[in-house]
């Protein structure tokens, strides 16, 4: 039996500042995230990856507070977190099953073979599970990356640009999986594709130059946009409105 939850939010950050090299890439972010799928949006260089790395506990915050799962101790916390880095480095000579099992071992799991089988089935790679990673297509590699992240049934799942390299059909399936995962975990998906967020996320966090400029539902973000703002969908126009991007076709 699991102990009852004693914290209000899976992730709570107060005035969080994180450095990437010498630059303060996340500069005073205050946010709280519970269960559900949270889309982390923002232009390139907004600090999305740095924030996700801080949540994955591989970057130490420069200042501010970060409390995850009620302030669990680092090693216990990491057993309950799944992480897909932006650059998913893998061992080409491993089969999918071997690789996911290796990560499960790194996560100090018990009953590894069954958990690996479950994770591989969830991402739809069961028929390729015993093929070497170097024989897989880009989309399949990405799915193997998601499999290693969910192998420990994480309570916090951090996915950095998970849809890069997926074809449209795979992205649809991936959104279904996200919705499924979001029912009993806190899923943070960093992306720069607004349509991914629109389809699968319950909540949007918008970063710009290291600052949090918006947190709320997709509907509220869409409500910010008007016809004068750049974008092809209400959500894109809301995104442009909050970031203050003027509608000047042709400019970057």
């Amino acid at each position: 039996m699991t102990a009852p939850t004693t914290y209000a939010w899976e992730i709570e950050a107060r005035d969080l500042r994180v450095k990437a090299g010498r630059r303060m890439a996340v500069d005073g972010v205050t946010l709280s995230m519970g269960r559900g799928v949270h889309g982390l949006l923002g232009p390139n260089g907004a600090g999305k990856t740095t924030l996700v790395r801080a949540l994955a506990t591989v970057l130490e915050p420069h200042s501010g507070e970060l409390s995850m799962l009620g302030g669990a101790e680092l090693r216990h916390l990491r057993r309950r977190v799944g992480y897909l880095p932006q650059e998913f480095g893998h061992y080409r000579r491993f089969t999918v099953r071997e690789f996911v099992a290796y990560v499960a071992w790194l996560k100090e799991m018990r009953d590894i073979p069954a958990a690996v089988q479950r994770a591989v089935e969830r991402v739809g790679l069961a028929d390729r599970a015993d093929d070497r990673m170097k024989t897989l297509s880009g989309g399949m590699i990405r799915r193997a990356g998601i499999a290693q992240a969910i192998v420990n049934d994480p309570e916090i799942l951090l996915l950095d640009e998970p849809t890069a390299g997926l074809d449209p059909a795979q992205r649809l399936r991936f959104r279904e999986l996200l919705t499924e995962l979001g029912t009993d975990a806190c899923v943070v998906v960093s992306t720069h594709l607004v349509e991914d967020v629109a389809a699968a996320c319950t909540d949007v966090v918008l970063l710009s130059q290291g600052k949090l400029v918006f947190q709320g539902t997709t509907e509220r973000l869409a409500a910010h946009g008007t016809e004068r703002h750049a974008g092809d969908s209400p959500l894109e126009r809301g995104y442009s409105a909050v970031l203050g991007i003027p509608d000047r076709p042709g400019s970057w």
């Binding site: 506990t57 591989v58 992480y83 480095g89 099953r97 290796y102 990560v103 100090e108 073979p113 028929d127």
Partner: protein, 263 residues
């Protein structure tokens, strides 16, 4: 708490999923079952389990069976998956050094090539075990609960388990004394890790390879004899460096749980 157990016919109806049980009775049975193991045992031999099994067993033949993990994959509890080719290369370099030594190729006056390459070999292995440039899954590994000094030590031990016996055989074949290469070899290994906690393992490896070229290789070529730092008189210095490295490692051990450790 009362000790009234539900009657047999009620339990039977419950296990059949009878919708006719009044809500209050259903609730009472359910909450009783949660706390009463003997009553759960009364449920168990019901045909439910057999029914579930009967519907599962035809599926089992069509489900792909999990192959057993290949035994050699288990070594990755010790050897970093990225280090394999580098360990093979280290053995090749040792073999080449032995062959050249035996063939009488020498940089000037009886300089042993085995002795010359001994300190730098483990540095490469360590860099391959934890460095960002050689291990593709560095970020993934650093975010797992197992990341940290114990895993780094395991991987380093695996490197030394290849390098040290290799060099031992080489020194037997060429007659270079054990003490002369073992201490520099260990000091460079620990040094890579210790410096790695401060600037990252990859950069530490680069710095130490440069130091090796400057302090050991350059004098050997310039004066055509084995550098004094490989002589017996230098042993206390190597021991001191080894000790200092271990102290730094102990103090900075948390660096290996963060990305800073494998820059």
């Amino acid at each position: 708490m009362t000790t009234d157990h539900p009657a047999d016919h009620l339990l039977h109806r419950y296990s059949q999923g009878d919708p006719g049980i009044p809500a209050d009775e259903l609730w009472a049975v359910e909450s009783h079952l949660e706390t009463c193991a003997p009553c759960r045992a009364r449920l168990a031999p019901e045909p439910i389990a057999e029914a579930v099994w009967a519907s599962l067993s035809p599926l089992l033949d069509r489900t792909p069976q999990m192959p057993r993990a290949r035994a050699w994959r288990r070594v990755h509890g010790w050897v970093s998956p990225a280090a394999g080719p580098w360990l093979a290369m280290i053995l090749l370099v040792i073999a080449a050094a032995v062959v050249l030594d035996r063939a009488g190729f020498a940089v000037g006056d009886r300089v042993s090539l085995v002795l010359l390459v001994a300190p730098v070999l483990p540095v490469l292995g360590v860099a391959a075990s934890w460095g960002r440039s050689l291990d593709p899954a560095w970020e993934l590994t650093a975010a797992t609960p197992r990341a940290g000094l114990p895993l780094v030590f395991r991987r380093t031990a695996a490197v030394l388990a290849v390098v040290v016996p290799g060099l031992a055989v080489a020194s037997l074949l060429t007659g270079a004394g054990f003490g002369r290469w073992l201490l520099p070899c260990l000091a460079f290994t620990v040094g890579t890790l210790a410096l790695g906690t401060l600037v990252g393992v990859t950069r530490a490896a680069v710095v130490l390879i440069a130091a090796w070229a400057l302090v050991i290789v350059a004098p050997t070529i310039a004066f055509s004899r084995t550098s004094v730092v490989l002589g017996a008189a230098a042993a206390p210095v190597w021991v001191a460096l080894l000790g200092a490295g271990l102290v730094v490692l102990a103090l900075r051990r948390m660096a290996f749980t963060r990305l800073e450790g494998n820059r």
